[in-house]
């Protein structure tokens, strides 16, 4: 509870004594490149393979002749939009971006760079952390959309090239009984996960004490805590929004 209280105080400190808009604009753009653009390749690669594997495994399980083959792509679509794109990618995002944020802030802390900012009269949390959170909120939903598209494309290529499903059936299955709300739900999840991962990782990194060893410990703690928070939030959001 004490840790949670510190986290809330930390979040409050982000919005007091802010810098100018132009300062944040530049910082957010830099962070968008770091957390978003630099993650595109990894997200595209992982999600393409997840889509491909989901197609193969769904086909493997649907052996009954009375089940139409378009159900394969229908299942891939539902799994991708509802869970794989926002949640599994969140775990990868925590591993790649969350650990980097925590390590970056932890190193700044132990080398007194954060103290240097404070001595200059700059609110270090607002200056360092707020742009990272805003950049995550902007970029992670886009990465989720990309991951969803790549997963469906991966499933399409593997399904059609291996003869599991015809292109027409795959497209039909993707469009069959489509509920637009699932996309809205995935985007809501992506915003929540982006906030949780970035804020928790920054919190863990910002309060690092000690030396290089502790920076590593903070990064590990950032990833594990973020992933746990994402999984809990995933369940709560599903309970709240899928009724």
């Amino acid at each position: 509870m004490k840790e949670f209280g510190r986290y809330l105080i930390f979040m409050y400190s982000l919005v007091v004594r802010r810098e100018t808009f132009i300062t944040y604009y530049r910082l957010v753009l830099e962070e968008c490149i770091l957390v978003g653009v630099n993650s595109i390749f990894l997200f595209a690669l992982v999600s393409t393979f997840i889509g491909a594997v989901t197609t193969v495994q769904t086909a493997f399980n649907l052996v009954a002749p009375y089940i139409p083959s378009y159900i394969i792509s229908n299942v891939v679509r539902e799994m991708t939009i509802l869970e794989l794109a926002p949640t599994i990618m969140a775990i990868i995002y925590a591993g790649k971006v969350g650990s980097s944020m925590s390590g970056n802030l932890g190193t700044m802390r132990i080398t007194e760079q954060i103290d240097a900012l404070e001595v200059m009269g700059i609110n270090s949390t607002s200056y360092l952390v707020l742009p990272k959170i805003i950049a995550s909120l902007l970029m992670y939903p886009l990465l989720v959309v990309l991951a969803g598209a790549c997963a469906l494309a991966g499933g399409y290529f593997v399904g059609t090239l291996t003869g599991i499903i015809t292109p027409t059936d795959y497209i039909y299955g993707i469009r069959y009984a489509f509920n637009e709300y699932t996309v809205t739900f995935a985007l809501i999840k992506s915003f929540v996960f982006a906030f949780l991962i970035s804020s928790i990782s920054c919190f863990k990194g910002y309060y690092t004490k000690g030396g290089a060893l502790e920076v590593g410990i903070s990064s590990t703690a950032a990833v594990t805590t973020s992933v746990i928070a994402v999984l809990i939030a995933d369940y709560l959001l599903a309970q709240l929004l899928l009724k």
């Binding site: 300062t23 080398t111 007194e112 103290d115 240097a116 404070e118 200059m120 009269g121 700059i122």
Partner: protein
Amino acid sequence: MIEIQNISKSFGDKQVLRNISGVFEKGKTNLIIGASGTGKSVLLKCIVGLIQPDTGTVFYDGRNFTDAGKDMKAEIRREIGMLFQGGALFDSKNVEQNVMFPLNVLTKMSPTDKIERVNFCLKRVGLENVNDKMPSEISGGMKKRVGIARAIVNNPNYLFCDEPNSGLDPQTAIVIDDLIKEITEEYEITTVVVSHDMNSVMGIGERILFLFQGEKIWEGTNKEIMTSGVKEFDNFVFSNKVMQNLKARE
């Protein structure tokens, strides 16, 4: 002038500072000295507000800094320049961007004026043509110089240096010490240096505050060191061979 009154600080059960009072004069190089672990750096951090003291008050030219609101604190901090032990340069920025940083966030100077000011400060600390170097590409002594340039770029009224010559060779250490003294006199600023190096004490220490186990034991000038008459202080000062020789000669 900076005045501290009855500063105390504990971490858990351990009391690190006990009722420390003192005055750091304007235009002089004021030193806080003592053995490792006596609370010098904690006292410095209490003075600049990085650590909140349990009791006591810090006054910057009569302005109560300890009890000031966030805006007032930010205003006073903008008059502070600080050189950290490791330089604390921002890893992601090159030398020029590091020195320019306070100007970017604290002033509305034009880009041309900023570049001019940065180059002036770098030249003042004896560094030229290193603007594009990253902190990882320069030596420890150069990092300290860049740190000093960054500390003075916004014309501070108060300069704080935490162990400015730690990890440096004796020759570079003297250069850094001399630079701090020159800048203090040139800009008439209040400088507070934390050190345990007797060469610094004898070289630049115009006013000296000696800490022993979290308490102020002695205060005076470097000329009064030989005749302090305080046992703990003499033990600290004359553990140094050079100081022993000086004492023997006297």
